[in-house]
Amino acid sequence: MEAISVVITNLPFLLLGAWDTLKLTFFSVLIGLVLGTFIGMGRLSKIKVINIPSTVYVEFLRGTPLLVQISIVYFGLPQLGIQLQAYPAAIVALGLNSGAYIAEIVRAGIQSIPKGQYEAARSLGLTHWQAMRYIILPQAFKNILPALGNEFITLTKDSSLASVIGVTELMRRGQFVITRTFQTFSIYFGIALIYFVMTFTISRIVRYVEKRMAVA
């Protein structure tokens, strides 16, 4: 009984952390989307100075642990004279990381659009950018919405790693409560439930939007 009541008494404190987790995830996804869109297009470019760096970026960020990336941004960059607070550092690291995954999603999305769409656009005199902006990306994003939703969910969970640099998101706040109460199991389990409610809600929202877009 005490196990449950300890979660309930600390719920407001934990929910503030959940709110931070959501904000952290949201801003990271935002950065990831912008970055991923450009890098995803870059991956498909025939121009080597665009294509090669894009590929290196994606491979490197997908091939190294997120925890290491967060550490580089927060502990490493200050040595180079770039000092970030924990919270912005976490957003930057998570944003850079999701940028790599979203780039691959965007690349697949662009490739899913028949070549004739791009050619029709160019034959009308649109520039490469205009063809991307008005014709290819709108159709691509519609197709990749489920994959982007997944990435959002993954990032919601991965953002818990920001606790190691002291960002007071959900995980970190849970650890605070545990040091105070010693209720390890119930607090971690409570946190797990809160994460689950968040990811489940997100997946429902994505599914709803998907259905709406399918009609349009």
């Binding site: 028949p114 769409q117 029709a120 034959s123 009308l124 649109l126 520039t127 008005y134 159709q139």
Partner: protein
């Protein structure tokens, strides 16, 4: 007469495969040229070189007196003057008919939306689809889609129109409505290059028929000459196949 396009000794390869092996062609204002030939002979590639959707290795393409190649700086502006109609329509499925039509005029030519809409109405009237102005491509028949695609190209007021087998993806009963629009266009003085095997169309509006086979112009002549007594054996057997 005004020379619209001149192609000199055009060579095009995909990797080691040489697809066009020295094509020559001249087209003057108001002419309609029909290109026929077996599949894989390079007809599509030839059209796609003209508006530079494909680069080429050697030769010259001169449109309105100016060379089109990979160094052409105002390629996008030139493309607005060369309308292209594809076998598979390539309408933009996420946009209504009206949006398909006004996109390029407003974004490329920067004319006002009001003006573009007015113009779209006139052109849709012309291709007989004004009642579909707010429809989406998925809700149109193949024939309607292709007429919208023609209308979309016309919105840019092209000087030259390229058609790449515009009716070969259509159910037979829908071919006629598209050919009608194309005939009207040809008779109104549009300069056109049409890849098609619709010999009735060719007979009625073509000034010349060109037979492209294995990357070269194997035969060229008036519809009468080509259809009644082709000189080339390959032309003969090809015509026997499609007629």
């Amino acid at each position: 007469m005004n020379k619209i396009l001149e192609v000199k000794n055009l060579h095009k390869s995909f990797g080691r495969l040489e697809v066009l092996k020295g094509i020559n062609l001249e087209i003057f204002q108001g002419e309609t040229i029909v290109i026929i030939g077996p599949s894989g002979g390079g007809k599509s590639t030839f059209l796609r070189c003209i508006n530079h959707l494909e680069d080429y290795q050697s030769g010259e393409i001169i449109f309105l007196g100016k060379k089109i190649d990979k160094h052409t700086s105002n390629l996008n502006e030139i493309r607005t003057k060369i309308g292209m109609v594809f076998q598979h329509f390539n309408l933009f499925p996420h946009m209504s008919v009206l949006e398909n039509l006004i996109l390029a005029p407003t974004k490329v030519k920067k004319i006002s939306k009001e003006e573009a809409v007015q113009k779209a109405k006139v052109i849709l009237e012309r291709v007989g689809l004004i009642e579909k102005i707010n429809a989406y491509p998925d809700n149109l028949s193949g024939g309607q889609k292709q007429r919208v695609a023609i209308a979309r190209a016309l919105m840019m007021e092209p000087v030259l129109m390229l058609f790449d087998e515009p009716t070969s993806a259509l159910d037979p009963e829908l071919v006629g409505e598209v050919l009608e629009v194309m005939k009207d266009l040809a008779k109104s003085g549009m300069t056109m290059i049409v890849v098609t095997h619709e010999m009735g169309f060719a007979k009625e509006v073509a000034d010349r028929i060109i037979f492209i086979d294995k990357g070269v112009v194997a035969e060229e002549g008036s519809p009468e000459e080509i259809m009644k007594n082709p000189k080339n054996e390959r032309t003969k057997s090809f015509l026997r196949h499609i007629l």
